[in-house]
Symmetry: C3
Subunit: 649 residues, 3 copies
């Protein structure tokens, strides 16, 4: 195992003549590369025909890297099945909700529940593990690649059969399934499990329970693929850690259920360089990764050295930006900074994706930055293994994401956008936050934020209530606790088991809606009190049973005054703790947050706008994301930072 | 039969435990509920397995309602077939134009021409009719539900076969079909009926005649479903009236052809509470329902007590708004005000649709309004059976709707939007209007309006011409009389048989078009004379043979002056009658309308903007839709009305 | 053969009663019609049942036209197969990328690779050629119609088989195919040709090489259809010229590969009358047609006498506009002006498309303009055969079009919009331009422009470099020479073989991109120096090896100053010639163009904005496209032109 930070990238030398390889390892050494990810898209090369394996080139490559001191993150190569397999087993190809069977010619063309795919993948992994499981260059196993990136939902017959098995395991009886899904509505009752199907195209809104269970099943089906490979690796290569690269906020996969099964978390992250919010949004993804691993170090497994190739317009990273994003990851717990890919491709679908070594070669800005970053990461090696300490947690839960974004909801809310809006305010205060689930252990936090936590089980409610009763500050946002884990409405005023601890209930929803026929814009909301000013997105009619009202909606409001004088923000104290309820999204959310943080005794770090300060271990990272120089005072010390520059103290 | 106004809603107690039922009937009594619609989505419960029926729960429910004095509008439950039926007969599932077979899991998943669906539906109806046909609680039969709401066009093989039968019945010979459809163009001639198909996906614009006939056939196919059920009910339950709930301006179904077959018209109506035009647009739908029934009282069968769940953002109804919409329906001929649904659902696709009894229970604004409305409707019982009297008619014709909105037209016009634009001006003058077809009996009207009556048969023209010659005022709008009922162009200047009575012909069309490559906005039109000011949407080059020119287009105009000085509005007097032609949509359409109404001797009721005044029987309804109080004088009496309040005199 | 200019249109009398025909020929004579295109959509009429032919009506028609001195452009009628053929051979119907088989009921419902379609088409053509190949009225053969207009890409099994044959012919071995397509990326290697398929729906971006070859194959598949018909006509009607009507900038077909196979080029052209740029965009299409034929006269085979029917809103042509567009075509090399269609249709999908003889009949503006244009064209008969002389060429290349507009590119550029932007400046200077390919003979040009010439082969580069070395001025625009003809990136700084002659290389791309999450607009670019001012669309980081810098990007720029001070425009002189490189699209592109033209010694004609001056043979056409009168001086002579009027000197 290396004792350095990982630095390097995906390396696909099978796409280049052999003489290029020697140039590659020489330049990798110059760039301080410590680890290369190999074999991600090599299945067709490793097994050119059914059951015929060719490892000679990979033997050569592994030895070449080893002899140059570059360690290998070896992929199992199952992410992109070879053409011959799809031709032999066309039933393994994915099917869309409209019944279109997707073809070969791109990548990830497999139905996760396909037995043919799983069988052939297992055979390949067994061969690889047997051959390289003890290779001296082997640093880690990299199972598959970006699971669910393109195909996370499959509507084939084989998936339908697997879904039925999954449902029978979950519910035991079809009566239980009917009760959970509420099939009495719209005459949807099933007489037996074999009548159940996947939620493919239908005349109108599908059953919500069916949809949510299909989301859960689909995440689990991919997890089964992962676990099947992992089991083989464990058997044949027991001492080498195993991971698969996550993709940040990927709706298709519930990473909470995956994280216990990776030896370390790793992530692919591609913020848009043109986005002014790329820094806070990147930080949110890094915090998620750290949280998934329970605070343990993780690896940034892919990022682009500059532009990507899949946006409508692909901006390059500004000079220095790639270093900032990399240091941001280290500051927030990463022990490795990997890129896609080492050498920019010459052909294929990603040939306009930046590489550490660009099309233009060594005399380029990007390659110079590649070398500089290698040097800096080498100097940071002793950050390995250190941790970050967060006193605030924010709930991030795939069930709520999936359920909130179904159709036929009170309003079309974007779950991640809501979270990111709250997070941005935490980030701008340099308050470190962990992501948690409603049922997570909250004992180490002083404050917990729950934006749009639409799905709330009895266990989740109890856990959150106990947190307040234990002295914590809990801020619950609109559209939380609306349904239970079966998507049954919490009757009697929503909020489920939180009603007592919050001291409020919700009478009705009053989102500011644009007029559908006349196209009039949605009317403005206004609130007075804490966080006063405009508000948007959503509003609820709150009824107070036992709480202070800290802010109210003030007229003139939409809906004929329905909201006038109603609570916008409430608090119910419970000893040292308190339950806060926020019924809308104030433009001045920061004021609400400040009040919660103050009550929790959480203090951030003051810094100019756009300057990120993070503490990891005994180092403090100061990152100036601005296009201008800044001056600040940190721990009493005045500091000056040029545009897009960083300081590590 | 009840002698009260209907008041109540869809009641789906099969979704709730039995103990809730008792609470329901108690609360229904408190709310003044007189009728409950039962069984709409109960097929799977009534027939859990093929041919096995379970009526015990419905027996219980019918008796429970009966014992509490609540009458039953009993649905035939055929709207949402059970899963077992679809699994047994997958060919009954609908197919889209792209060939996608829609699945179970939502509702209305049947192809209207499916023999398996029809056969099983008939068996269920026969069972229901035999069992409940003489039940003392039975007020009416409610066949199916919202026919064509989601699936009004089906492209399956079974539909294609039915379409061929329908065509052969219509045309007799394939030569007649070829002539009607103009298949000589684009080499589309059919050699036999069995070569004809449905207009599924094709390389470019389908044959217009094929499209229109498929629209007609599809409406008829659903009507056949209705009639098959009705025949059984007539046989087994001869004294109980039968209806099916229409859906206002539903493009898929020509309600004119359906209306003679219902014993009373009923309607589902869901205006957007956030839409400032919800009042006039709702009024238009109510007038359509009254007109479909030839002026007879009708039932508002569904409306939402507050928000729905299927818009992108679902606004609640403002306080008082639900009462206003209900009284608007009564004023315009309704003998009943029903809601979807009694109790807000706990699970399923519509659990966020408001109920008369909300999730929050009795201590809620919505339930209080439910109770108040029940009281008010009870006091209005003697309005039952009274009628409204309209002296103005407006043409509303599905053929024109279908044909005008085909592709490959002079311009993309929205038929209902054009109608609604004209109607809004009538509504704001409190002039009651009936909707009619071109061939309707017009003898009771002083003025007839014909906006965008694109399809005009010789019979229709003759009827309208006779109306003018009999002393009526006829206002014809642009894009009227362009084609006949086979969609053959009326050669020689369009307008068909109206050319003489209008004294004009149309030389060419000159819609103000935006520049397609450069994206320049459409240029403004201007007119001088009657209704002077701006104009939009469409314009035509009018040639006058024998008419007065009341308004002209004035330069500078688009199209290089093509319209300059051309007639925008003409009139040809014919004794006491006159034919008016309007070649564009003036912003100041009201001035044109005023002139026509004055000539017709029609006088509305003056009232402040947003105040609706309607007379039914000997009552006058005054509805203030504004968010502010108003004062007005009615029949010499000064009145004051608070915001969103109503007065019945 | 006629010695007049062609004037007339598509004539479809089979859609009208026989008595209308006599009226038609009488009115054609009045309108100066010289040629009628007959039979385009007559297959079903000519062969009403499989193998049963009916030519009686066409005999009658040919003789009728002949007896009135109207010559015939006889279509082979294969553009719209009869229904019976599709019913007999459903496999001939096209299939979309999503697997939807398109149906009959519109037109062009055939898969170009269908053997059934080709076999039946050949039989029909043989019958027609045998019968009419020597008819005295026959002026030309018109093969099929608008090839590829609706269906240029087909994803059926039969097309896949043909694609495999095409690939094997192109590559010889599957190894060569794998190398060309770069299938090592994403594990896409093929083991044999029979594993290759068409690029139908797949999980994400298809292989770029597969896509481009499918584009090339699809164009070739249609060309095979054309050539099969042509071979029969050559055999049976050897002396009659053959054409097929092109469609201007049709992405689906590479007309450069087709043009050598037509005896004369013909084109269908439908600029939007509402578009202020319809004149320059029309001119560009005409110049393409002249260039495809190597400068030989061509026929404008279809244009609309006024409005079309397939835009969202269809503007009529302003008075005089149709004449201007017609004369523009003559000025730019057309020997004929044909319309779709002679008589406006009464039924069918195009019944709202204008005709030379409108629905309104003879007493209409459009028919009057029809007659006037006929008179004017008669007076211009001696322009036939004369040529235009262009000293400037612009590259227009389907490979670059197809490749640049694939997904996963540095930015989403619209190839034709880029070309049109450059062309507009040439047009406004009245500089005539030929369209060429990179490998065309450039010896007659003083300047060559290469906008976004994304694909550049070694031969293309060498040809362009030789042009500069021979004294020419070459202006190369951004995103040129990025890849070779296999879409392999030109490593080492892009530009391929042009690097030396331009003296620059490209380090990276820096398009101004909007922020994806926050929706911020794309930031502005600015340049100083030649063409100073704003810039847009794209920018590149240029490295100079041996060139003058004529303009630079000036801060503040996007991307953190990445572009600041970098070259925006460079020039490398090479004797009398020079290679110019333009790294962005300046708003003031005209200044750059002026410098290039001046260096090339090319002088346009000064005229007021919107006035087009073109010289053909010894005539000069002066066309005032403005809605206002202009005065100008031409060859020292003062001229005055009314709005939308023309002068031929």
């Amino acid at each position: 195992m290396t004792d350095k930070l990982w630095y390097g990238g995906d390396y696909n030398p099978e796409q280049w003549p052999r003489e290029v390889w020697d140039s590659d390892v020489r330049l990798m050494q110059r760039a301080g590369v410590t680890v290369a990810t190999v074999g991600v898209f090599s299945w067709a090369r490793l097994e050119p025909r059914d059951g015929e394996f060719d490892f000679a080139w990979l033997d050569d490559l592994m030895d070449l890297l080893d002899s140059h001191g570059i360690r290998v993150d070896l992929a199992t190569a199952t992410a992109s099945p070879p053409v011959w397999l799809a031709r032999k087993h066309p039933e393994m190809l994915p099917v869309t909700a409209d019944g279109v069977r997707l073809g070969v010619g791109s990548r990830q063309h497999y139905n996760p529940s396909s037995s043919a795919y799983r069988r052939h993948a297992a055979r390949l992994v067994r061969e690889l593990a047997a051959r390289y499981g003890t290779h001296p260059a082997l640093e880690a196993w990299h199972i598959n690649n970006e699971y669910g990136c393109h195909v996370s939902r499959d509507y084939s017959e084989e998936s339908a059969a697997a879904f039925r098995v999954w449902l029978e395991r979950r519910y035991g009886t079809v009566e239980a399934l009917n009760a959970a899904w509420g099939t009495a509505f719209w005459s949807q009752a099933y007489g037996a499990f074999d009548q159940v199907g996947v939620p493919a195209a239908m005349p109108t809104y599908p059953n919500p329970g069916q949809l949510l269970d299909f989301d859960r099943f689909s995440s689990d089906a991919l997890l089964e693929c992962y676990l099947a490979e992992k089991e083989i690796l464990r058997e044949l290569s027991p001492d080498v850690p195993v991971t698969t690269n996550f993709m940040g906020f990927l709706k298709g996969i519930d990473y909470w259920s995956w994280a216990p099964h990776v030896d370390f978390v790793s992530d692919d992250c591609y913020p848009d360089p043109a986005d002014p919010d790329s820094a806070p949004f990147g930080a949110l993804a890094r915090d998620l990764m750290r949280s998934l691993g329970g605070g343990a170090p993780w690896i940034l497994m892919e990022q682009s050295p500059s532009a990507v190739n899949w946006r409508a317009v692909n901006a390059p990273k500004s000079p220095g930006m790639h270093r900032l994003h990399s240091l941001q990851a280290v500051a927030r717990g990463a022990d490795g900074i990997m890129q896609f890919q080492w050498r920019a491709g010459r052909a294929g679908a990603e040939s306009f994706h930046a590489g550490m070594l660009p099309h233009g070669g060594e005399d380029t800005r990007v390659f110079r930055e590649t070398v500089q970053l290698g040097e800096e990461l080498a100097s940071l090696a002793d950050v390995r293994g250190t941790r970050c300490d967060a006193r605030v947690a924010m709930i991030m839960d795939w069930d709520s994401w999936w359920a909130l974004e179904q159709e036929a909801r009170p309003a079309s809310l974007d779950y991640v956008r809501v979270l990111a809006g709250w997070y941005r305010e935490l980030w701008s205060r340099n308050v470190l936050v962990d992501l948690v689930r409603p049922t997570s252990d909250l004992s180490s936090y002083a404050a917990v934020l729950a934006p749009a936590t639409f799905v709330l089980s009895a266990e989740g409610s109890a856990n959150l209530a106990a947190f307040v009763e234990g002295g914590g500050q809990l801020l619950v946002g609109y559209q939380s606790g609306i349904v239970d884990e079966r998507l049954h409405v919490h009757l009697g005023g929503y909020l489920g088991g939180l009603r007592d601890v919050l001291g409020v209930w919700i009478e009705e929803f009053a989102p500011p809606a644009p007029g559908s026929l006349s196209g009039t814009p949605a009317p403005a909301l206004r609130i007075s009190g804490l966080g006063e000013g405009g508000a948007s997105t959503f509003a609820e009619v709150v009824r107070v049973s036992d709480a202070e009202v800290l802010a109210t909606f003030t007229g003139p409001q939409p809906h004929g005054g329905l909201l006038d004088g109603r609570p916008a923000l409430t608090r119910r104290r419970s000893g040292a703790g308190a339950g806060w309820y926020l019924a809308t999204q104030p433009d001045n959310f920061g004021a609400v947050l400040d009040a919660v943080l103050e009550a929790a005794g959480v203090v951030g770090v003051e810094a100019p706008a756009g300057v990120e300060v993070v503490r990891r271990g005994d180092r403090t990272f100061v990152l100036n994301h601005n296009d201008h120089a800044v001056e600040l005072t940190l721990a009493g010390e005045p500091l000056a930072l040029p545009a897009r520059d960083a300081l590590i103290i």
